[in-house]
């Protein structure tokens, strides 16, 4: 398959060769590529967070696991903060549903927030370079950091505040760098990627593995027999800001 970039590269190379009257470009004969044999696949990945179980004060632990695995910097200055997984009170997580008479439990409880991996992601439409894209195969919304130009349109487009910008070089703020995953550089936007690099080798997302209360359930939303589908069939749940029509893949069971 030829994409636009390859076509333009080849076209300009051919033009240059014609102009110079000689072509000494070596033929580029490459091997073939295939997905990993153990890769976990789904039609649409989703996550359910059982708020009855996610009730301890251990949320910092799963956040720490996520941030360690992905080299997310800890920057004390609030406006430079970078977050993949984070917690916020009910009225910030569900502003459409917040009112003066919500139950005490909801008022007190903090909600675990992350990228919603929307079915109709506004960030993808906003991105001018297609650095942010939604995978056609499993619905994960990803950022290609190689392509991100740091314009931050996606941050303005995201209604959930799931995206962070690297205002400064993140490396000095990473306590222990995990060599298995790249860091980011100054000037790119980053967010949760549903641990796609772990799914590709057959694992489950770090936060799901790291939750000792088993409050996070990860699975295929399109498969009616998956654990998450059965859970969502049974229990009352909600998504963030449903009126916007983005159809998040992250569900909160309350």
């Amino acid at each position: 398959m030829t994409n636009r970039r390859q076509f333009l590269t080849a076209a300009s190379a051919a033009l240059a060769a014609t102009v110079c009257g000689a072509s000494n470009a070596s033929p580029f004969q490459m091997g073939t590529m295939s997905p990993g044999p153990q890769a976990r696949t789904a039609k649409r990945w989703g996550m359910a967070i059982d708020m009855k179980r996610c009730d301890g004060n251990c949320r910092q632990e799963c956040i720490a696991v996520c941030h360690e695995v992905h080299n997310v910097p800890f920057i004390p200055k609030a406006e430079h903060e970078v977050m993949w997984l984070f917690e916020k009170p009910y009225e910030n997580a569900f502003p459409e549903r917040a009112h003066s008479r919500i139950s005490k439990r909801l008022k007190r409880q903090k909600f675990l927030l992350l990228c919603n991996h929307c079915d109709d992601p506004p960030c993808v439409r906003a991105c001018p370079t297609q650095a942010t894209f939604k995978r056609k195969t499993d619905g994960i919304v990803m950022i290609d950091y190689h392509r991100c130009i740091g314009c931050r349109f996606c941050m303005a487009a995201c209604p959930y505040g799931s995206r962070s910008f690297n205002f400064r070089d993140p490396r000095p703020f990473i306590k222990k760098i995990n060599p298995g995953y790249p860091t980011r550089r100054r000037g790119v936007v980053e967010k949760c990627n549903f641990c796609q690099e772990i799914l590709a080798v057959g694992g489950m997302p770090a936060c799901v593995e790291g939750c000792k209360n088993r409050a996070l359930v990860f699975g295929d939303l399109e498969d009616p027999n998956s654990e998450i589908s059965r859970l969502l069939d049974e229990k009352h749940h909600m998504r963030r800001k449903p009126s916007l029509g983005t159809r998040p893949s992250v569900f909160y069971i309350v």
Binding site: S26, S34, N71, H146, N178, R185
Partner: protein, 127 residues
């Protein structure tokens, strides 16, 4: 010709200044090609040596597009050997030193690829 002395002296002076970079660095003296540290245990890279020398950047570029955007993971080389497409584990698994392999040649050819601004280079062993 009027002011012959001044004109000729001026031309010679101009050429001397304009050619300064050439004789200052030594005419005809090539900067020696850097000695790259090659892995001791492996004889063949992912592809043949001339291919890697000329096109490793195109290969890496294709790898990163395939891994990030098309959910690929395994590269089957033209000799049917399989590799995981991973800069850190596969490339740097053999080429243990970035400074004594990547940097030496990139410095020589005056290119500054930004790979290591994000990817984590293996720790350099002191020789």
């Amino acid at each position: 010709m009027y002011n012959r002395g001044w004109v000729i002296a001026g031309i010679i002076g101009f050429l001397a200044i304009a050619a300064f970079p050439f004789y200052w660095s030594g005419i005809g003296q090539d900067t020696p090609f850097p000695k790259l540290e090659l892995p001791a245990q492996e004889k063949r890279c992912v592809e043949s040596k001339p291919f890697m020398r000329a096109d490793h950047m195109r290969l890496l570029h294709a790898w990163r597009t395939a891994v990030v955007r098309d959910q690929m993971l395994i590269y089957t080389a033209t000799d049917e050997k399989k590799y995981r497409m991973n800069l850190r584990d596969t490339c740097m698994g053999c080429h243990k030193s970035k400074e004594r392999f990547c940097d030496r040649c990139h410095e020589y050819s005056n290119v500054t690829p930004p790979c290591w601004e994000c990817h984590v280079a293996p720790p350099e062993e002191k020789l």
